[in-house]
Amino acid sequence: MTPLLEVRDLRVSFPVGEGRTIHPVDGVSFALERGRTLALVGESGCGKSLTGLALLRLVPMPGRVEPSSVIRLDGEELMTFDEEAMRAVRGGRIGMVFQDPMTSLNPVLTIGDQIAEAVRAHRKVSKSEALARAESLLAEVGIADPARRLGEYPHQLSGGMRQRVMIAIALAAEPEILIADEPTTALDVTVQAQILELLDRLRTQRGMAVLLITHDLGVVAGRADDMCVMYAGQIVERASTRQVFEAPAHPYTRGLFGSVPTITGPRERLTPIAGSVPPPTAWPTGCRFAPRCPERFARCVTMPSLRRAGPGHESRCWLTGDEP
């Protein structure tokens, strides 16, 4: 069966002057199946957010998605779509929710108008039908007293409620895929838990696929079926979430786990990764993690490809697996 979304060798380029080009997303491949959650995990600058934007061809100028990239939505080649066709995909078959709901909402329009607008962008219905649909969407995302909230403005809502409104807007077009980019990062932890529960419930009820982009391993643990760990524009590890958490194969992934303080278990000194994430202009030619890697050896001056660490488990490290 073809996956709902198939991404192969996705590459985003940005000119940086003097004829030089950087690739902040550099050969990313993954597949997203119906009804599942796939997480893209990594620190700032790893390319995870840009990957999400690239899928919708929303890469900010002067960047561009390299034409050799393959993005297939239910077998259709999105890279061949013109701008008008892409507009129907964006907010249509693929919905998107961002970190900061305040900047994504229009401050001078009511919540109801904004959701109704999203409904009408994808379906020919009357204004009043669209508002009725907006009300049921608000109820679906767990907003109490939705009829009253329709007439309110974004500033009257809490951060958590605004994020629920953004999700309602994303749902308006009945998307098959929801890209959620750090959807809870700006929220308090008790509200974060509510939003993550909501996304999970919607995925189950609607059979939606979710691409969850996050820096937070804790968010991934409870919610994603599968995960890709990204570092310096590339996927460095890929497997089911359980496999990655139980036996992380890539030294970077292990470094991330060693950096995260925990709330249970013995209190131990953290074992952070040395140094910091290099900017795309300073990526080494070999393994990009090598300069910070405690396990680097001679071979790391050449770039490893993703190697088999186990069934359905790959890692971009020469120490992974027993292939030559």
Binding site: V191, G222, E246, P261, T262
Partner: protein, 331 residues
């Protein structure tokens, strides 16, 4: 809350209140925002007290008031028995040598037009510590101590990453050899790998310099990593406080239980049933009567008393908790 037996606390905050009043356009006085509404805490020498809670709970205001960036509405804060809030200008300057602050955004707290060396030396200049040459030597050794190249002294803040800037902020705080550092979300804007480096650095500095930290953060796991004791705040008040391990392993206040349960733990081991609180924290301008948490509480015994009678902190099983029914809090 009491200090460990036999030691006088370095910092003793008693019934701290900070209300903000705003006048509306028509000159009517709006109800005050009760940002901090009667907070008492103590901090011993060489100890870390973690002050945790969600946005708007007043934790940052507590820190800023203690260091006199904001004036309190009422209450006392004693540093070694000296009342911080009544200090005159000269005494305040001496106080600022003893207490320093590290902020969340190290970029916002560094002057972009001042070299890193000058920024670190600024405190020493103000307090007339050492000769010019000695100060330059101090800057180099401070940079080294926080894990930066001493040669960075001549560079400007924008040349550094977030983690490096936070190290600069720490070096700047250390320059006047304080006894107490108020750390306000010091790692929350950093990537996890860098966050861990800074947490380890703070731990090491505490040991070598016998520093006390008031560590303000929203992240329970981060606080657990550094704190000896913690105080959990909700709507301007401390609802539970005690030894960090004790409070986090067997929380007694329903809010602590929920906060603890909401922490997304980086493990796939089966976790106990998650408690997801409904709604948002109420506004500190209109805190609910009685127990401020009663509007979101899930305690099976919550009742009329919770809606009318405000629970005070009381000792229970080695911690202090402000809940009428803490004995039967479901965990």
């Amino acid at each position: 809350m009491t200090a460990p037996a036999g030691t006088a606390p370095l910092l003793d905050v008693r019934d701290l209140v900070k209300h903000y009043t705003a006048r509306s356009l028509l000159g009517r006085t709006a109800p005050p925002v009760r940002a901090v509404d009667g907070v008492s805490l103590t901090l011993g020498r060489g100890e870390t007290l973690g002050l945790v809670g969600e946005s708007g709970c007043g934790k940052t205001t507590v820190g800023r008031t203690i260091i006199r960036l904001q004036e309190p509405t009422s209450g006392q804060a004693l540093l070694d028995g000296i009342d911080i809030f009544t200090l005159g200008p000269d005494a305040l300057r001496a106080f600022r040598r003893r207490v320093q602050m590290i902020f969340q955004d190290p970029y916002g707290s560094l002057n972009p037009r001042m070299t890193v060396g000058d920024a670190i030396a600024e405190g020493m200049d103000i307090h007339n510590i050492g000769t010019r040459l000695q100060r330059r030597g101090r800057v180099a050794s401070l940079l080294d101590e926080v894990g930066l190249d001493p040669g960075y002294a001549t560079r400007y803040p924008h040349e550094f990453s977030g983690g490096q800037r936070q190290r600069i902020g720490i070096a700047r705080a250390l320059a006047v050899e304080p006894e107490l550092i108020i750390c306000d979300e010091p790692v929350s804007s950093l990537d996890v790998s860098v966050q861990a480096q800074v947490l380890n650095l703070l731990t090491d500095l505490q040991r070598t310099r016998r520093l006390s930290y008031l560590f303000i953060a929203h992240d329970l796991a981060v606080v657990r990593q550094v704190a000896d004791r913690i105080a959990v705040m909700y709507l301007g008040r401390v609802v539970e406080t005690g030894a960090a391990d004790k409070v986090l392993s067997s929380p007694r206040h329903p809010y602590t239980v929920a906060l603890r349960s909401a922490v997304p733990e980086a493990t796939v081991a089966p976790t106990a049933g998650r408690i997801v609180l409904g709604g948002d924290p109420p506004s500190p301008a209109a805190p609910p009567p009685g127990c401020a948490f009663h509007t979101r509480c899930f305690h099976p015994r919550r009742d009329e008393r919770c809606r009318t009678e405000r629970p005070e902190l009381r000792p229970l099983g080695g911690v202090q908790v402000a809940c009428h029914y803490a004995e039967t809090t479901p965990v």
